[in-house]
């Protein structure tokens, strides 16, 4: 049953052919057998998960179940889950049992979903390989010598290895889409403001957005229907009417205009990635879509802009970790300033510290205009490029990541090389646009390739509909990593 989609499992739960307790036990036993190999999960709480499963079964028995009632969902350890250890992959929060639920977690609980466990991730979501975690690196189920991508690498690897039918992640510069691509699954970063950031541990607040990870576009829609929604506790949450993200699942793709930014196809990506992406574009042609050439001339500035804005916002957000109210406190210190300095020095890893230092520098007196304000101006140029492009097309398509999964340790000593993994994903975060990644092929080594689809604001349903039509015509999303089918 671990090979079934959320939609299929939901139908079996609704028909009472399967109980949530059986389903949850099945996934927990798979996790026990395989987690050592992949290191996807930081925390499991069998009793809590099974308690939710029993409650879901009772709800189903009364006929009041919804699509996700009784479905086990893995949660990235960046979401605060009440009573659960919530570490954000950091020593700084290695003892933090959250006293409250994130809005997304509240909504999943209200829908009767089961929290299957908290997944491993890059520390404070800073990374593209899930190697900066205090809890050790996550391994890619397609080849354990390679990384699953990051920062939501534990969620991606869990879904790929069939240790969870779906998961939730967050995306600041590509942290849902890039691991989805490298792990051969689907992931969606919604329009900024659609999913509440309340209780989602902050990294760069003007870019952070939660979203679903699963094996099909249809399952992403089911998760979005629960995750999205207004929340007054997030000052950037959008007040919009409820929407059914599955409403365009059955719609034909015929006539849809797909923009191909020449900057996405120009250079930089590995030949195997481009070959798979071009084959996917050809498949869209068979579905009756038109392609149009578009341009995002400022795209090459996205990574430089991001590495001003994200560290600046992070240095401010992470100032809260002072060893006083919660989390780690250094065991020895002389006075209060020493308590702060030692706690932060010992509690944060080097990737986090480096970004705090960069962020503090660009915000410091005399540099603010040259770095921070300039980055915000270039951010607007990048957003304008998308606005121009969307005058001529409905969605944009291209690669999610320039390469397939790379080897563990390969880029850890060279931050700039690591940062360039996100060259195709960062632009959507800067503009606040929805972006998704779906599997579209494999390289010669058998590692998955992701196709990125970026839509205009609030075009999620249309993107999911297009992805679903593609998945009816192809079977890349059904491929299972070696050793994960039995």
């Amino acid at each position: 049953m671990h090979k079934a989609t959320i939609k299929e499992l939901s139908a079996r739960l609704a028909a009472r052919k399967l109980s949530s307790v059986e389903l949850t036990r099945h996934f927990l036993s798979r996790i026990k057998a395989l987690n050592q190999k992949y290191n996807c999960f930081i925390t499991l709480d069998e009793e809590a998960s099974l308690g939710q499963a029993e409650a879901a079964d009772r709800l189903r028995a009364t006929g009041r179940g919804q699509a996700l009632t009784g479905i086990p969902i893995a949660q990235k350890d960046i979401f605060c889950s009440r009573g659960w250890l919530t570490t954000c992959g950091s020593k700084m929060l290695s003892n933090f049992v959250s006293p409250y639920d994130a809005h997304v977690v509240e909504r999943l609980n209200a829908a009767g979903a089961v929290n299957l466990g908290k997944t491993n991730m890059d520390e404070f979501a800073m990374g593209s390989s899930s190697e900066t975690s205090y809890y050790g690196p996550v391994r890619n189920p397609w080849d354990v010598a390679t990384v699953p991508g990051g920062s939501s690498g534990g969620s991606a690897a869990a879904v790929a290895a069939r240790l969870a039918p779906g998961a939730i992640g967050t995306d600041t510069g590509g942290s849902i889409r890039q691991p989805a691509a490298l792990s051969g699954i689907c992931g969606l970063k919604p329009t900024y403001g659609v999913v509440s950031r309340y209780g989602m541990i902050a990294f760069a607040s003007s870019l952070d957005q939660g979203g679903p990870m699963a094996r099909t576009a249809e399952d992403l829609a089911l998760l979005m229907n629960v995750m999205a929604g207004f929340d007054a506790r997030d000052s950037t949450s959008l007040e919009r009417g409820r929407e059914d993200y599955a409403r365009e699942i059955g719609r034909q793709a015929r006539g849809l205009k797909i923009g191909l930014p020449r900057e996405f196809f120009a250079e930089g990506a590995a030949p195997a990635v481009m070959k798979a992406v071009e084959a996917a574009v050809a498949e869209f042609g068979k579905l009756g879509c038109e392609t149009v050439d578009v341009s995002l001339p400022n795209m090459r500035l996205s990574v430089p802009v991001y590495y001003v804005l994200a560290p600046a916002e992070a240095s401010s957000n992470l100032a809260r970790y002072d060893g006083v109210r919660y989390g780690f406190r250094a065991p020895e210190y002389a006075d209060l300033p020493d308590l702060y300095r030692k706690t932060r020095s010992q509690g944060f890893g080097w990737e986090v510290k480096r970004r705090i230092l960069i962020g503090t520098y660009v915000l410091s007196h005399g540099y603010y205009d040259a770095y921070y304000i300039q980055a915000q101006r270039v951010r607007r140029l990048i957003a304008r490029d998308f606005a121009e492009a969307f005058k001529r097309c409905d969605v944009i398509a291209g690669p999610t990541s320039p390469t397939t999964a790379f080897r563990l340790g390969e880029k850890m000593d060279d931050p700039v090389r690591m940062y360039l993994n996100d060259i195709y994903t960062i632009p959507a975060n800067l503009a606040g646009l929805p972006g998704m990644s779906i599997p579209c092929g494999f390289d010669a080594a058998g590692l998955p390739v992701g196709l990125q689809i970026v839509g205009n604001y609030f075009a999620e349903a249309r993107m999911l509909g297009l992805a679903h039509q593609y998945q009816l015509a192809t079977d890349w999303h059904r491929r299972i990593p070696p050793g994960c089918d039995a």
Binding site: A232, I356, R377
Partner: protein, 95 residues
């Protein structure tokens, strides 16, 4: 423009992160690599372009000036490193 080890130490002090000489030197070259990357965007002519601080043009929501939070101090302090008499304890600041 390249940073020096002294710049790194000064910024670390502002960020309240203890860093010694050898750590400052080790992190310096990586930070300067990042600043070389950042330099690409500094050369762009952005005269007349309004800074974009937020993805969508939305205004700050207002709410009634009413109490919305109940007293949860016991719950919140249950995860604090050191609490006594409902107070968070830190080393003495004033002699």
């Amino acid at each position: 423009m390249a940073l020096t080890a002294d710049d790194v130490k000064r910024v670390a002090e502002l960020a309240r992160i203890a860093i010694d000489e050898s750590e400052a030197r080790a992190v310096l070259s990586q930070i300067n690599d990042v600043f070389r990357l950042i330099a690409e965007m500094q050369a762009v002519d952005t005269r007349g372009v309004e800074p974009m601080s937020h993805a969508l043009d939305v205004t700050q929501r207002l709410r009634e000036d009413a109490v919305t939070e109940g007293d949860q101090h016991a719950l919140f302090q249950s995860v604090a490193p050191h609490v006594e008499g409902d107070l968070y304890l830190v080393p003495k600041v004033i002699e």
